[in-house]
């Protein structure tokens, strides 16, 4: 029963050296070729790789961009992140439904189009947006949807043309700063590093007091030092370009504007920890940047900034490979990212051991954020003292903020750590903020009484996402949206996150439906704390934050809905037994007290 794919799959698998670690690439390519990955195809992939079907399916079924059933020829994924919904997403969906003939979550009759939702694609500064065959289209107005659909029919949105999107996605760098968005000279940071011993490079980064920009803020110098000292057959540096926190898009801008700075940082890190291989894990939503980044890498190889004996330094060999993801927020967690890089489902690992001692291929691995690596390169270029002179005591340097929502000037801002929310709102033009969500759904919902607080690790840490909601917005609806995001993105490994997030949604729904009581409010808080305390990784531990931080800062909104002192059942008793009464032909006998 040959259907023609066996040969193609064999070729694809061979292209990737029959290496099961490359399962992500293999799956992406099989899907690009055939539109989906069927059970038979997975079996074929497994046979060619020498791994069981169940393992291939384990990976393929995990990522939201992989399809296991045939769908439309062109896939339109409309971003349903909160800021997008608040800025006309519904109208766009309607227009696409009309123009394509497909319903959302469905396929058009002619099989040409498929409409899907997808969480934040990193375009919250230019909503509403969508990914068309993986290519971003932003600031879509309902009236131009017809034009877009015509262009899809003309093949304008095909994989080969993906890089074109870089020209039409707004950069929106509203305020460049001295660290990331300053002019750079290729190779300068590397040459500075190579004049020092690896230990001194680490010391320089340590002295700059650089902390991880992904949000957790682990000291970078310490991470590199642990990694360098850990024994292993090989050491690896991984750049985490999987920015998935809703409302963040600063890495998108870094990758298009200063990709050399990122690769420069990776190379410096490689030298410091003793790595010869580096990986950039690029989120599936940014696949349109892949070819462009490959070109940048190629140019760097030509310039001797990658490859063998870099910058003439005998014995310093280092190169970088880009690994693309396929739609999974949790892969931003470093150990889940490593699992994905090894071709598995992106489920986080238990710690200890930490990646610095046992990461990629169980070898010492440093995983750093895109922005962190930029900072590291600059520190080598300009010195620790220069870097540490900016920011606050425990948060040196600048931070890129991705500002979106209700403000006049959404976009990327490079600002010194320590800026207050008040000041930031002034800079971005927001004068009616009811709340500011700092750090995305997993962060904190800040109320006006706290707008004097500073953005820095000591007070309000953030990976970069800042969403502003004005006084007209329904904050609890936003909370519910955030919880839905975590339900979608939970990896399902552990029970409290897998089940608990859905339980939180049920409880919120009850309250939002006006059936909440004081009892529900108490139970909501308890449940949120259970998920926070008992979950296995950062995703589950922060999934209840939208509820917990609004319960703390906007308690009145909940109390307004939970005035009843007595418990209200979540269902309508009369309605529930109506069918039974109908069948029995009589009312139930109610016992007298």
């Amino acid at each position: 029963m040959s259907t023609g794919y066996e040969e193609a799959i064999r070729e694809i698998v061979e292209k990737y050296g029959k290496d099961s670690r490359r399962l992500m690439d293999i799956a992406i390519e099989v899907q690009e070729r055939f539109g989906y990955i069927s059970e038979e195809m997975m079996k074929n992939i497994g046979d060619a790789l020498g791994i069981p079907l169940v393992k291939v399916r384990d990976t393929v079924s995990f990522y939201s961009f992989f399809k296991r059933e045939p769908g439309g020829k062109n896939v339109i994924r409309i971003c349903n992140s909160v800021v997008e919904k608040l800025n006309g997403m519904d109208k766009i969906v309607e227009a696409f439904e009309k123009e394509t003939g497909a319903q959302i979550n469905g396929v058009s009759g002619d099989g040409e189009f498929e409409l899907r939702y997808t969480p934040c694609i990193g375009m919250s500064d230019q909503p509403p947006s969508a990914l068309i065959n993986g290519i971003p289209v932003t600031k879509i107005s309902p009236s131009e949807v017809k034009h877009i659909v015509d262009n899809i029919k003309k093949g304008r949105y095909s994989r080969e043309k993906a890089s074109d999107a870089i020209s039409w996605v707004d950069k929106n760098i509203r305020q460049p700063g001295p660290v990331v968005f300053a002019p750079m000279e290729k190779g300068k940071a590397i040459r500075a590093a190579l004049n020092m011993s690896p230990e001194d490079v680490i010391n320089e980064v340590t002295n700059a007091r650089l902390r991880g920009r992904g949000g957790a803020g682990f000291p970078t110098g310490m991470k590199w030092s642990f990694c360098r000292k850990a024994k292993g057959e090989a050491h690896y540096i991984i750049c985490n370009a999987d920015e998935g926190e809703p409302g963040t898009f600063k890495d998108r801008t870094i990758l298009t504007e200063v990709p050399d700075l990122v690769f420069e940082g990776m190379t410096v890190a490689g030298y410091a920890i003793g790595a010869t291989e580096g990986y950039m894990y690029l989120r599936g939503e940014y696949i349109y940047l892949k070819d462009y980044l490959e070109q940048v890498l190629e140019r760097r190889r030509e310039l001797g900034l990658l490859g063998k004996n870099i910058c003439g330094k005998e014995g310093f060999n280092f190169d970088i490979r880009i690994q693309v993801g396929a739609g999974a927020y949790v892969c931003g967690e470093e150990s889940a990212l490593i699992e994905s890089l090894e071709g598995s489902r992106g489920a986080p690992r238990d710690r200890p051991p930490y990646p610095v001692t046992s990461g990629y291929m169980n070898q010492p691995t440093a995983v750093n954020n895109v922005e962190t690596l930029c900072c590291a390169a600059r520190i080598l270029e300009k010195g620790a003292e220069w870097f540490a002179s900016m920011g606050t005591k425990d948060s040196t340097g600048t931070k890129l903020l991705s500002v979106s929502g209700d403000c006049e000037r959404p976009g990327v801002y490079e600002l010194e750590y320590g800026i207050t929310i008040d000041k930031l709102l002034e800079v971005v033009g927001a004068n009616d903020a009811q709340a500011v969500q700092v750090g995305g759904p997993s962060g904190t919902c800040v109320a006006p009484k706290d707008f004097g607080r500073k953005i820095c690790f000591e007070e309000l840490p953030t990976g970069g996402s800042v969403m502003i909601f004005n006084s007209k917005r329904n904050l609890l609806w936003i909370v519910r949206e955030f919880i839905e995001f975590f339900i979608e993105e939970s990896c399902g490994w552990c029970a409290p996150c897998r089940v608990g997030t859905t339980m939180l949604a049920r409880k919120l729904d009850k309250i939002l439906a006006g059936k909440g009581s004081q009892v529900d409010l108490k139970e909501l808080e308890e449940l949120a704390n259970t998920v926070k305390k008992m979950s296995r990784c950062g995703l589950g531990q922060s999934a209840p934050n939208p509820i917990l931080t609004t319960l703390k800062n906007f308690k009145a909104l909940y109390e307004e809905l939970c005035k009843a002192e007595d418990y209200i059942p979540p269902f309508d008793y009369e309605k529930a037994i109506a069918a039974g009464i109908e069948i029995a032909g009589r009312e139930p006998v109610v016992e007298e007290e």
Partner: protein
């Protein structure tokens, strides 16, 4: 090797380097409630029932290696309440009908619910529609009773070396998958495999032996789960 001493609920016990907190506790006769852990398997860290507080931080005892001087809180009302909540979640996630389940009395989920004092789940049921697969001649899989502990996955992979079981999908849609396209009957699972008998609930069950032992005489009918461990200390 160095001697390691840890303290659990005020009791000092000795542990060996490389042991996890759970292994050390069980060896010393201290019961830490657990579900996905099995002594023959590498830990999975799925259920989180064995969560304890170590030096003020919550962590799973089955995955955390012992370190000298660890101060651990285990059998405390606040921690048991969280564990009970997880057991409740597992009950409402699946469709568990203890009264007519052939695993009743031998079921670790049911036994933990009793031990932790769960009377009934207070959370809303999800009422998932789940099919039973009885295509294998000797073993059936009823995912209604699955708690996604992954024991079958680990046992099949590490002990039986067969990869009969795996995971599929993510989040609340995650489920146990099979290494076949047409059900359990198409896999090379044998009823003598470790994976066929390691399920803590009635999800993966060997056929035709379910009622050979009468209700009332089963493992957890007389004593709560963990009693055998605690007897070691008395």
């Amino acid at each position: 090797m160095d001697k390691i001493t840890i303290t659990i609920d005020g009791v000092e016990i000795e542990a060996k380097p490389g042991q996890t907190i759970l292994e050390a506790a069980l060896a010393a006769g201290i019961y830490i409630p657990h579900l996905c852990y099995h002594s023959d398997l590498v830990p999975g860290g799925h259920c989180r029932v064995c969560t304890v507080e170590v030096n003020g931080k919550f962590t799973s005892a089955c995955t955390m290696p012992v370190q000298d001087g660890m101060i651990i809180r285990n059998n405390a009302e606040d921690i048991n309440r969280e564990r009970r909540k997880i057991i409740e979640m597992l009950f409402v996630e699946g469709n568990h009908f203890c009264p007519f389940c052939e695993k009743s009395g031998d079921c670790e989920l049911q036994a933990l619910a009793y031990r932790l004092g769960m009377l009934t789940p207070m959370l809303p049921y999800l009422y998932k529609q789940i099919e039973v697969d009885a295509s294998h001649p000797d073993v059936y899989i009823d995912r209604n009773r699955c708690v996604l502990c992954g024991r079958c996955v680990r046992a099949s992979r590490d002990i039986d070396k067969k990869y009969v079981f795996g995971f599929e999908n993510r989040g609340i849609n995650k489920k146990i998958a099979l290494n076949s396209m047409n059900g359990l009957g198409e896999t090379n699972l044998s009823k003598d495999d470790k994976a066929a008998s390691i399920c803590p609930t009635g999800c993966i069950v060997v056929k035709r032996v379910g009622y050979s032992k009468p209700f009332g005489t089963r493992l957890y009918d007389k004593e709560p789960i963990g009693s055998d461990i605690e007897k070691k200390r008395k």
